[in-house]
Symmetry: C2
Subunit: 307 residues, 2 copies
Amino acid sequence: MESLIQERVMKIRQFNRFYTNIIGLINQNILESPYSLAEARILLEINNAATCTASSLVEILQIDPGYLSRILRRFKKDGLIEAVRSMTDGRSQILNITEKGRATFRQLSDASSSQLVGLLEQLPQGAQQILVHNMAAIQYMLSDKADTSITIRRHQSGDTGYIAYRHGVLYEKEYGLDHRFEKYVLQSLIAYLEDPSKGEIWIAECCGIIVGFIGIVEINKRTAQLRWFLIEPEFRGGGLGRKLVETVMEYCQQKYYNHVFLWTFKGLDAARHLYQSFGFNLTEEKENDTWNNQLIEQRWDVMLNAD
Amino acid sequence: MESLIQERVMKIRQFNRFYTNIIGLINQNILESPYSLAEARILLEINNAATCTASSLVEILQIDPGYLSRILRRFKKDGLIEAVRSMTDGRSQILNITEKGRATFRQLSDASSSQLVGLLEQLPQGAQQILVHNMAAIQYMLSDKADTSITIRRHQSGDTGYIAYRHGVLYEKEYGLDHRFEKYVLQSLIAYLEDPSKGEIWIAECCGIIVGFIGIVEINKRTAQLRWFLIEPEFRGGGLGRKLVETVMEYCQQKYYNHVFLWTFKGLDAARHLYQSFGFNLTEEKENDTWNNQLIEQRWDVMLNAD
DNA sequence: GCATATAGTTGACTTTGTCAATTATATTGT
DNA sequence: ACAATATAATTGACAAAGTCAACTATATGC
């Protein structure tokens, strides 16, 4: 566990070194201009901000006030900005960009844009989109307002396909199951879609990505089968499984099912503990003869008290 | 089209500003140490490289030779590195990190690691993984050795689920189709999985991400139906559709199918042109009565010459 | 073996950034 | 009302970071 986070840290640091170079590359043309990186950054801020004072720049850009003062003096001398004393506070002065300043800013901006366009054009359209999307995801996750909690929602279009997709990929990797298992999962999902009112699917999402799911289908008025329970490997061991089973069991109570069962494979210790803690008992074991003879299937049942 | 790339450039620049701050945050503790960022970077390079000379550092780190020389002098004085004249080239000297240098490096490294651990620990395990994964993807796509070409492969476990998933999501968004359509797609996929030898699925991937697919199923010895043809919106208009249809048509020739047909929806002009260019003719039109009465379904057929 | 190239160093310099002191205005508590 | 304190912006003095050209020593090509 400790080495897992160390590995991630290593990868992030590697990315940081890599991306520092990329940023350096993109900023190169600014370094070739008569303005420094800091100056360009200041001009950008003055250009974009509605109202801007030296002290607000100090705060936003974490820059030394003295240093800033001199840069602003140069900007004024060059006619890029104008400073007018604030009406409400005689100490501070509002910084406004001039037409010339705007032009200069645009020039700097265009130069670094064309650098970026060059970088993007080496990628096909779709890959560009993926790149930008990945950046947005990183930005979101590292921003303080990121909601990295796991949310659970009901079924939406495409979910059944996604469930089959992840079952296919993960059960092949973990148990060597092939297309026959894939077909079996698809069939079970069709049974649900025949009459969605006779069942439900819950999808757990984190940062817009599906990280786990669970479902229930009615077998008869009092009996329901728990199905399609899967947590993405990276999200296991964090209590998400318990949360999903809880959600299902509550639903069953509401629907007055007094008997719930499920089929699983032998050997999943974490899952066994989870089922046991909800009162499930092992009721049947059989060798799997269609997908993989090594696998032992287990049936677990629980009776719910009417209360 | 032009504004699309401009928008991406804007987003990347925003990410760059954001990430520059993140990197600054992580490097903060190095700035608090008696070594500068550049010095830490140099020490890292000497520590990691098998053999290292001043000139190799100049090239890797793009640093001024004079500046580097002085930094190395200080490192030698502090006992962090040792320089021995190269056997093979009397001009250059091999830089070796000493035990003390390694300790110093580890200290700097640990400090910035702990900063990163703090950042990571605000995220759940799985989200950490997603973050690192996104970074790796960016790094891969922007590196010169990135293969951003689109590759086409055959069916693997999970693909049918993925096909259903994307159909469900995109056909709901684009045509408002609901779970009944989702079920229809699943059913068609099951028919394929019943006997995978009577059909085939091709998956187009870019940078490890599925960006489109197509399939074929045998109807009888001489007739096959083209199915599950979908290109992710961002990857449309780049010739991928043609490439996929081509792949299918070649397969049909090999299998001696002389008649291929498909069902599609009216109004997809790009698709119509594509089908026509492969010799397909519109043979049937009917209102769709199960999913959406607004939609007109079309059947297209083509006879292949035996050659 | 001479011209040229490369590895590394040094001196002189510019740019970039920091820190404390200073002036002018604003705010707060009594 | 006004003294104490806080904030906005500037300035001088300085330190750190980085650049450039000149220089020494060794290597390489013709």
